[in-house]
């Protein structure tokens, strides 16, 4: 530790940080722009100036930039010094020379770092009468709005976009006071992490275009801590509502998971909640048509159907909360509960879960992935299946080069000095996937192959690491050499990591990844094994248990059930249409609880409107094994309520004894934890509804929430009683104690003088560290790190190209492949059109060119698709966009014929 003096008071701080960082940690209000906790120091804006003194006798001192000065032992500075204060006010004056001062009409107003820093610095009078420079704004796509006149040239956007996120199409142009931050020409920003610019930009240059459609100031939002539902990573988000609609998603800092950043699917996918496809009222089928019915009537009818009925089964869902799935399981009975996943995915998910639970490799958090120093990605296009992982992996390749810059004594926070020393040097990142990925640019080596061959590479790596791991027969020299190279890189690393998943639906790939991790762990390494899980609660459901969808179908076909309750699940996405149709034919009663009128819901007898994430409370378990609670931001209108609440209603209506004492979320959380041993710790994921701070609940709205008494005055002049929340320690109110709540209950970040998201630093135990009191969530999986399990055996045969058939593999798209976000208009706009991808060689073989129509026949179904030629694809493999081309529930990969039409 180092002792430093700030304004004649001594503090003990970490010498490995800049003065700015330690000053912020110590609670000083020191303004800054170009610095960002995740981006480090570059010294551009000169806003964080302080006075530094040589020693106690130095009274004159000199101005230094706190972001560029190390907090070394004995440093003496003054933040309050009048020269330093005057300099900081002068910098703001300079920054504001051309700023349009359009706060009242700016989307950033009220959560603008520039506003905050201007007030903090004390600049308030404009001394220059000259015209301001103006710019032309660009169209940047459906997600972001561009208003360059507001720019203060802090360079954070391009540093984040290019240097941190690896984008190439946003750059600084021109120079001096007319530096322009944009694209070479108008067009959609290419990076799937572009949305973070909303939070990176300290003012209103880059703002959320979807928020603009239904704009609300931050202070007018009613917010709740939420968890992203658009993949299995469980990024923490903050969902904001006004007038009964979900207005926007903002990143919610979680040191262990998403840190400061989300992917664009997570940020902009929320609009499915406001979609016209939403089911808002209770429906039942009358005269063959779905018609709205009063909620109470439907519950009563269903109660009659379910009462004493032992022929009911429940089909759960990996996108529904643990509590909802558990409520369904309780309603129908453990043996009659099915997890809603296809036989194949259910098997793969259980397999991955078991591997993670058995160890010895540990599933790392996103933060730990970021600090891995050698990575093998096996069969997972993470940019599209678990996007936030890709952003962490992009940082991981800097770990080894930064060890070299440590030796040059360049502090890691001195960002550009580190980058200039590192140049294009990257640490090991090997990617084995059928298709080219967006991470290839920072990879050490790529391997384009069929799923089986990818698995064989993985097995070969494991064998190269540990001769006891099974060898792979008939391996080509090239692949063996590559495997040995990968093994060397992983073996010599301090924190090696294997990333895999089920997106190729290959058991062999998962086995291979497990073998590599096991071989690494044998070497007493802290080896990581991260599996991408397809949905928000996939791992949670695997821990909860239950048969698969095929078993559900079988139960009905065998006449053992005639009533089916389907929870937040569109079966047509998971099973062949024929099988689903047969199920519907065979049952007498069918109930669907869902958020959207899916194909499955639209054929049901009853449709009960389920609350979306922002309208519900519940628990998800992410791919790391971290249980995280999400809370409702608002009480939805109409009949919408949490699925588990619907199920409790049905249990009560059908006289279910167990449910008699279950009323609120806490009851279900405890019941779930009590009944399912692997889920025992979910009670710790967040404080219960009884939690109070100074006898008060945690307010969902900022203290400045406006219009409470006026919002509904056009309907009724008396102010309605705010809704009560029996399920959580959050209140639908702006009133409450202003102290920091536990991290899992924090609806938003706000601190006096810090209205923007930059206020996060006021809530962290240290900058970039955990939130005070610990990051949200609780890990359910902690395997023994010295497992003595067995290796999986290797697939015997390599992939063989067939003369007339192609192995059809799913290709994932961050925009379009995921069910719910596809209903958000902005995301839908970015989804690709259906296509079939062929390798260059195969396109030649078929004598087709890019765009030509071909006929793809799969499992008896045929469809015409335009060809996309992908040079990287291996021969004999064809790809179709997952979720965007209906394969009628046929599991991929599968052999299909492709012919010219």
């Amino acid at each position: 530790m180092a002792n430093i003096w700030v304004d004649d008071k001594t503090y003990e701080v970490s010498p490995d940080q800049s003065l700015l960082q330690v000053c912020l940690e110590l609670g000083f209000d020191l303004p800054y722009f170009c610095w960002h906790p995740a981006l480090g120091s570059v010294g551009a804006c000169r806003q964080c100036a302080v006075k530094q003194f040589k020693d106690e006798n130095d009274t004159k001192g000199r101005i230094v930039m706190s972001c560029m000065t190390p907090a070394s032992d004995g440093t003496r500075i003054s933040v309050k010094d009048s020269d330093a204060e005057a300099f900081r006010a002068g910098v703001i004056e300079g920054l504001m020379l051309s700023h349009p001062h359009d706060c009242p009409v700016c989307d950033e107003g009220g959560e603008c770092h520039l506003q905050d820093m201007t007030v903090m610095s004390g600049h308030n009078y404009r001394r220059t009468p000259y015209p301001k420079r103006t710019f032309r704004n660009q169209y940047l796509g459906p997600l972001l709005n561009h208003e360059m006149n507001r720019c203060i040239q802090c360079y954070r956007c391009v540093r984040y976009y290019r240097e941190y996120a690896g984008g190439t199409d946003l750059a600084p142009f021109a120079s001096r006071n007319i530096t322009y931050f944009g694209r070479q020409e108008d067009g959609i920003l290419e990076s799937e992490f572009a949305g973070n610019l909303v939070e990176i930009c300290p003012t209103g240059v880059f703002t959320d275009k979807t928020l603009k459609q239904h704009y609300t100031r931050k202070w007018d939002l009613q917010m709740a801590p939420s968890v992203c539902v658009h993949c299995g990573l469980g990024c923490s988000t903050s969902a904001g509502e006004r007038y009964g609609t979900l207005r926007r998603i903002l990143n919610r800092y979680n040191g262990e998971v998403n840190g400061y950043f989300l992917c664009d699917r997570g940020r902009f996918g929320y609009e499915f909640v406001n979609s016209e496809q939403r089911v808002r009222e209770t429906h039942s089928r009358q005269d063959g048509k779905l018609k709205t019915v009063p909620k109470e009537k439907a519950v009563e009818q269903l109660g009659d159907i379910l009462k004493g009925n032992s022929r009911v089964i429940g089909i759960g869902s990996p996108r529904a909360s643990l509590e909802s799935n558990f409520a369904l399981r309780s309603l129908v009975g453990v043996d009659r509960f099915f997890n809603g996943m296809s036989e194949k995915s259910s098997h793969l998910v259980s397999l991955m879960t078991e591997i993670l639970r058995q160890g010895p490799a540990r599933s790392p958090s996103l933060r730990e992935i970021e600090y891995s120093d050698a990575v093998l990605v096996l069969g997972e296009d993470v940019n599209n299946t678990a996007p936030r992982v890709a952003l962490s992996l992009r940082q991981s390749v800097r770990q080894q080069p930064m060890e070299k810059t440590d030796k040059l004594k360049i502090p890691r926070w001195l960002d550009h000095a580190v980058r200039e020393a590192v140049q294009h040097d990257t640490g090991p990142l090997f990617i084995a996937t059928p298709n080219a990925t967006r991470l290839d640019d920072v990879s050490t080596g790529t391997y384009r192959a069929a799923p089986d061959d990818i698995a064989r590479l993985g097995f070969a790596v494991a064998h190269a690491l540990d001769s006891e791991a099974p060898a792979v027969p008939d391996l080509s020299d090239d692949v063996r050499r590559m495997a040995e190279r990968i093994a060397r890189a992983l073996k010599s690393a301090k924190r090696p990591l294997v990333v895999s998943g089920s997106s190729l639906a290959s058991e062999a790939v998962i086995h291979a990844a497990a073998n590599v991790a096991r071989a690494l762990a044998k070497d007493s390494k802290s080896a990581g094994l991260s599996f991408a899980m397809p949905e928000a609660n996939t791992l949670g459901l695997a821990l909860l248990g239950g048969g698969n969808l095929n078993e559900a179908f079988k139960t009905v076909q065998e006449g053992k059930a005639d009533t089916v309750i389907i929870l937040e699940n569109d079966l047509y996405r998971r099973a062949p249409a024929e099988a689903v149709d047969n199920l519907m034919q065979a049952v007498r009663h069918m109930v669907v609880l869902d958020q959207l009128m899916t194909p499955t819901a639209s054929k049901s007898e009853f449709v009960l409107p389920a609350g979306a994430f922002a309208e519900s409370d519940g628990t998800f378990v992410n791919n790391e094994g971290r249980a995280q609670r999400f809370f409702q931001a608002y009480v939805p209108k109409d009949d919408i309520q949490e699925s588990w609440r619907w199920l409790l209603d049905l249990m009560k209506a059908s006289g279910h004894a167990e449910a008699a004492s279950w009323n609120v979320l806490d009851d279900l959380v405890s019941a779930t934890a009590g009944a399912v041993p692997p889920l025992e710790k979910i009670t710790e994921a967040a404080p219960s509804s009884k939690f109070r701070m100074l006898n008060e609940k945690v307010p969902r709205s900022p203290h400045r929430y406006s219009g409470r008494t006026a919002m509904l005055a056009n309907i009724k002049v008396s102010e309605p009683k705010p809704p009560q929340d029996p399920d959580s320690a959050l209140a639908f109110s702006m009133e409450g104690t202003p102290t920091q709540p536990p991290s899992s209950l924090m609806p938003f970040f706000w601190s006096p003088g810090w209205n923007s998201i930059q206020s996060v630093n006021k809530f962290q135990s240290e900058i970039n560290g955990a939130l005070r009191g610990g990051d949200p969530g609780v890990r359910l999986i902690d395997p023994p790190q010295t497992g003595s399990g067995l290796y999986f055996s290797a697939p015997q045969r390599p992939f063989e190209v067939r003369p007339d058939e192609w192995l059809l593999v799913p290709l994932y798209h961050v925009f379009g492949s995921e069910e719910l976000s596809s209903q958000a208009p902005a995301v839908a706009q970015l989804a690709p059109k259906p296509y079939v991808a062929l390798s260059t060689a195969d396109a030649e073989r078929l004598q087709v060119q890019e765009g030509a129509q071909v006929e793809v026949k799969l499992a008896g179904n045929s469809q015409k698709l335009p060809v996309v030629v992908q040079a990287g694809l291996p021969k004999g493999i064809a790809g179709i966009p997952a979720g965007l081309v209906s394969v009628e529930g046929a599991g991929l990969p599968a052999w299909a014929s492709v012919t010219r039409s």
């Binding site: 551009a44 300079g94 203060i152 006071n177």
Partner: protein
């Protein structure tokens, strides 16, 4: 008086080709240097008291000694010649490159040997077309004669040398902006420390050195540090290329002993002011130095003395201002240049200089206000050394702050008369 750098400059304006250069004793320095250990070369240069001629005057040998050497040193190491002569009023390197390109190459080979550089770049100002042609030819000749390339003259030393023409920004002449430009990036300055000697071009140890500095190196090796010191009239060793532009009788460039007085350069070599014009002041070493006035004329033009008078020798090429030139217009032109050439990285520079330029324009147009003078001084304080990221803005403030000091009445007349008295 002995001339060193310009001794062999052909009178006909041509460039000395390799034959004529060798006949005049060229490349003897390289032969000698290659027989010396790198450290010996550095020691000789240290002893000579050679200081960087680009403007900052940093001791050359000391700079080289910071480069890591030995078996563990990172490679490739780089030597970069800063030939981006963009300082307004400066044209000294141009003469050296146009007339004696081999002299630069020879100096660079010696310097590269001293720091064990593997690759050398000449970063040349984009507008110096003739220099480029002549350097290109000279480089080809040097390769042909094995002064460059593999195993130079059988010494076992290798050196590749490339000519790179700048895209044309003042910032490219800043040591680290140059490195970024050479890497194909925006010519923004880099964080120091780490200095280029540790982490420079492509992250490797690098020395950046001005043309004139490098041209001295092989002469020092040939004739020794004592000889070099003896050339000078001051503590700083060697000769110096001094220049004068403005309304003097004979604008030009002269190689004179370091420490020749301002008066001697102005009156004897430049011939004094043109008929009917009075001297008002001069910028001693390019646009980014403080004005010197009548009282300073007997100063020695060297790094030490000029600094004592509150200015800098800079490049040693003075811009002379006469009494028929409006000081406000003069400074406005300079600030226009600096504001335009700001890279846009740090706030006091990109914002302050454009504000200063606008204020000066409005004063010159007769629309200035009393408060503007304080605001101009305020901008000079905001852009003081240490307040900005690099030296561009402090350099830009130098002519402005000194003009406000020496020519304040002229500024005030503009404001009170609401017009430019010179128009």
């Amino acid at each position: 008086m002995e001339k060193v750098l310009t001794k062999d400059v052909p009178a006909d304006g041509s460039a000395l080709d390799i034959k004529r250069y060798e006949l005049a004793g060229g490349y003897q320095g390289v032969r000698k240097a290659l027989k010396m250990a790198p450290k010996e070369v550095i020691d000789v240069v240290k002893q000579s008291g050679l200081r960087g001629r680009g403007g900052a005057g940093f001791p050359t040998g000391m700079k080289w000694s910071f480069v890591p050497t030995g078996a563990d040193a990172p490679h490739p190491k780089y030597l970069c010649c800063n030939a981006d002569e963009m300082e307004p009023g400066t044209f000294k390197d141009r003469l050296l490159m146009e007339a004696t390109p081999h002299q630069l190459i020879e100096g660079m080979i010696c310097a590269a040997h001293a720091i064990e550089a593997d690759v050398a770049y000449i970063f040349l100002r984009g507008e110096y077309i003739l220099s480029a042609e002549r350097l290109r030819k000279a480089l080809a000749e040097a390769y042909e004669h094995n002064y460059l390339g593999k195993n130079i003259l059988g010494s076992g030393v290798n050196l590749e040398m490339h000519l790179h023409m700048s895209g044309g920004r003042y910032m490219c002449g800043e040591e680290t902006g140059l490195l970024n430009a050479l890497e194909g990036k925006r010519a923004n300055p880099r964080t120091k420390p780490p200095f280029p000697q540790i982490s420079g071009l492509f992250g490797k140890p690098t020395i950046v050195q001005n043309v004139e500095t490098l041209c001295n190196v092989h002469h020092i090796i040939n004739k020794g540090p004592e000889w070099f010191k003896g050339l000078s009239k001051s503590e700083d060793g060697g000769t110096k290329l001094y220049g004068a532009s403005g309304k003097v009788k004979r604008p030009g460039l002269w190689e004179l002993p370091m420490g020749t007085t301002v008066r001697e350069i102005l009156e004897e070599h430049a011939g004094g002011m043109k008929e009917g014009l009075r001297f008002r002041g001069l910028l001693p070493g390019g646009a980014s130095t403080d004005f010197l006035v009548e009282e300073h004329l007997d100063l020695k033009m060297d790094f030490t003395d000029v600094q004592k008078a509150g200015s800098r020798m800079g490049t040693g090429t003075m811009i002379v201002m006469d009494d028929r030139t409006c000081p406000v217009g003069f400074v406005k032109n300079l600030e226009h240049f600096f504001a335009q050439e700001s890279c846009g990285w740090c706030t006091p520079c990109w914002s302050g200089l454009s504000w200063a330029e606008k204020m000066l324009q409005s004063i010159e147009d007769g629309q200035g206000q009393e408060a503007d003078l304080d605001r101009l001084s305020y901008i000079c304080r905001m852009t003081a050394p240490g307040h900005t990221f690099c030296a561009l803005a402090p350099g830009a403030a130098e002519p402005l702050q000194s003009a406000l000091k020496y020519f304040r009445e002229d500024f005030e007349r503009h404001i009170h008369e609401k017009r430019c008295p010179w128009r």
